[in-house]
């Protein structure tokens, strides 16, 4: 009878975490910023069809980094969870906190028990409120860790460096165009520039209309960066 090698739980978790982290670090990063008029999400993404940022519900957006097929499945699951809740109860009963918890549960479950490998993704669930104080930015890590962030949120490779840059440039009173500039500068760093065509930008607008999710076109991005 063959004996499986003993691997300590600590070592197993560390190996899985390293695996997930490496996968995520390979992809490009994204940032979300709170501004007085909206939440703006800026992602580095050369593709115009495979989206990283998308609409989940009236006031809720989703963004993912890492492996596209993995976070896109989670996006669709989120749309379903939100729509089912809205259908069975009311549109007002759909909130980001509940969705973020469900995502954390799925990611945590795959990381620790059910999956052959952890999911190589990090997620953002953002909800725009009537005032910036009521905004929600939930950051979910590959192992199901759920973080409730304020002001801004960074996902993906080199998150630490980007956070550090944002820490010095972010202000709460940014208008949209400036916020985009600040976000792009933080994403690209001092040594390189990112073209408008390689950016995917969307906002959750604080205007009281039902569907607050709006994409910003490449032309408008280029104009904002000028």
């Amino acid at each position: 009878m063959s004996m499986p090698f003993y691997v300590s739980p600590e070592q197993m978790m560390k190996d899985r975490a390293d695996y997930a982290r490496k996968g995520i670090a390979r992809g490009r990063a994204l940032v979300a910023l709170q501004t007085p008029s909206c939440i703006v999400i800026v992602a580095e993404n050369p593709s115009t069809t495979l989206r990283k940022v998308s609409e989940i519900y009236d006031r809720i957006a989703f963004a993912g980094v890492g492996k596209y097929n993995e976070f896109d499945q989670l996006r669709v699951a989120g749309v379903r969870a939100a729509e089912l809740r809205g259908y069975q109860y009311s549109r007002n009963d759909v909130d980001a906190r509940s969705l973020a918890n469900q995502y954390a549960q799925v990611l945590g479950d795959v990381f620790a028990t059910s999956g052959p490998k952890p999911l190589e993704v990090e997620l953002l669930v953002a909800e725009v409120g009537d005032t910036p104080e009521r905004d929600r930015l939930f950051h979910i890590l590959y192992d199901g860790t759920l973080l409730d962030e304020k002001r801004f949120c960074v996902l993906g490779g080199d998150a630490e460096g980007i956070s550090k840059r944002l820490e010095s440039t972010y202000r709460a009173d940014l208008d949209l165009a400036t916020a985009v500039k600040v976000a792009v500068a933080a994403l690209s760093g001092p040594d390189r520039t990112v073209a408008a065509a390689d950016l995917e930008i969307a906002t959750l607008v604080r205007n009281g209309r039902r569907r607050s999710f709006t994409r910003i076109t490449d032309d408008a991005v280029a104009a904002a960066l000028r």
Binding site: S54, E55, V76, E83, R85, Y87, Q88, Q105
Partner: protein, 272 residues
């Protein structure tokens, strides 16, 4: 509540009704009436009388479509609601109007609106206008067992089609049959009266204003001779719903504007 996740072969895709069935909710519960004896007549004064929504119409104009519907729901010879909304936007560029058993009709509208938005979010792009009409057709067909028991629902679907740059409209029968109409259509108990007015008054490429006036007039004539169709309720300030849909989207005509159109019509009637 846990997140709904499916294996690759079991995924309901971009269909919200299929998703509901997967998690054990029947979106058309009235279809379970199949095989039960007896027929519920929702229009006449029988044992079981259900609220019934009536006359709706749609017509094309230069650049879009106008949709309109009265506000009355009836239960046999009684008025059950004076301010029901049978004409609603389906999404940015289309609208749906519905006649028939009110409860099922309202539920179908809700499901249809949800399905269009759900598809857009899951697939990342909207359905074509033709695709939307087809979706509605399938929902009407799902309701057919109930329709055979007397709980029929028939909608009008209309909208602006950016692919061809003009307004288009469809009507349906209870089997889900889908018929694209070129100029105008009316459904419900007052439809014969309303479509006569439309037939006489409609012209190719009429203006939006003329189309709105014609729609208001068609509803007036329907309500004048059909008790199940409500006219303008001056006493309570409840007017029919009239809206246009063009490249800029859904635009509902304000009650003030309708009030002045009906003022004119009433003056004409008085001077006859």
């Amino acid at each position: 509540m846990t997140m709904p996740r499916f294996a690759a072969g079991d995924d309901p895709g971009a269909s919200f009704p299929d998703l509901l069935r997967k998690i054990g909710i029947d979106p058309f519960p009235a279809s379970a009436l199949r095989g039960e004896s007896g027929r519920i007549d929702s229009t006449r004064g029988n044992d079981t009388v259900l609220p019934h929504a009536t006359t709706c119409l749609a017509l094309t104009y230069d650049g879009g479509v106008v949709m309109a519907g009265d506000r009355r729901a009836t239960m046999g010879n009684l008025i059950s609601t004076r301010s029901v909304e049978k004409v609603v936007p389906a999404d940015d560029l289309s609208g749906v109007a519905i006649a028939g058993t009110a409860g099922l009709a309202m539920e179908m509208i809700k499901l249809f609106q949800l399905q269009l938005e759900y598809y857009e979010k899951v697939e990342g792009q909207s359905l074509s206008l033709e695709g939307k009409a087809n979706q509605l057709s399938m929902m009407v067909r799902s309701n057919m067992p109930a329709a055979m028991q007397g709980l029929g629902v028939v909608p009008i679907f209309a909208g602006f089609d950016p692919l061809v740059g003009r307004g288009r409209l469809w009507d349906f029968d209870i089997t889900g049959g889908r018929y694209e109409e070129r100029d105008f259509v009316a459904i419900g108990s007052g439809s014969a009266l309303a479509s006569t007015v439309l037939r006489v008054g409609w012209r190719t490429n009429i203006t939006r204003e003329a189309a709105i006036e014609l729609a208001a007039r068609a509803l007036w004539e329907a309500s004048d001779a059909d008790t199940a169709t409500g006219g303008p309720d001056i006493l309570r300030g409840i007017y029919p719903i009239v809206a246009s849909i063009d490249a800029g989207g859904w635009d509902r005509v304000a009650d003030d504007a309708l009030a002045s159109i009906y003022d004119t019509i009433m003056r004409e009637v008085r001077s006859r």
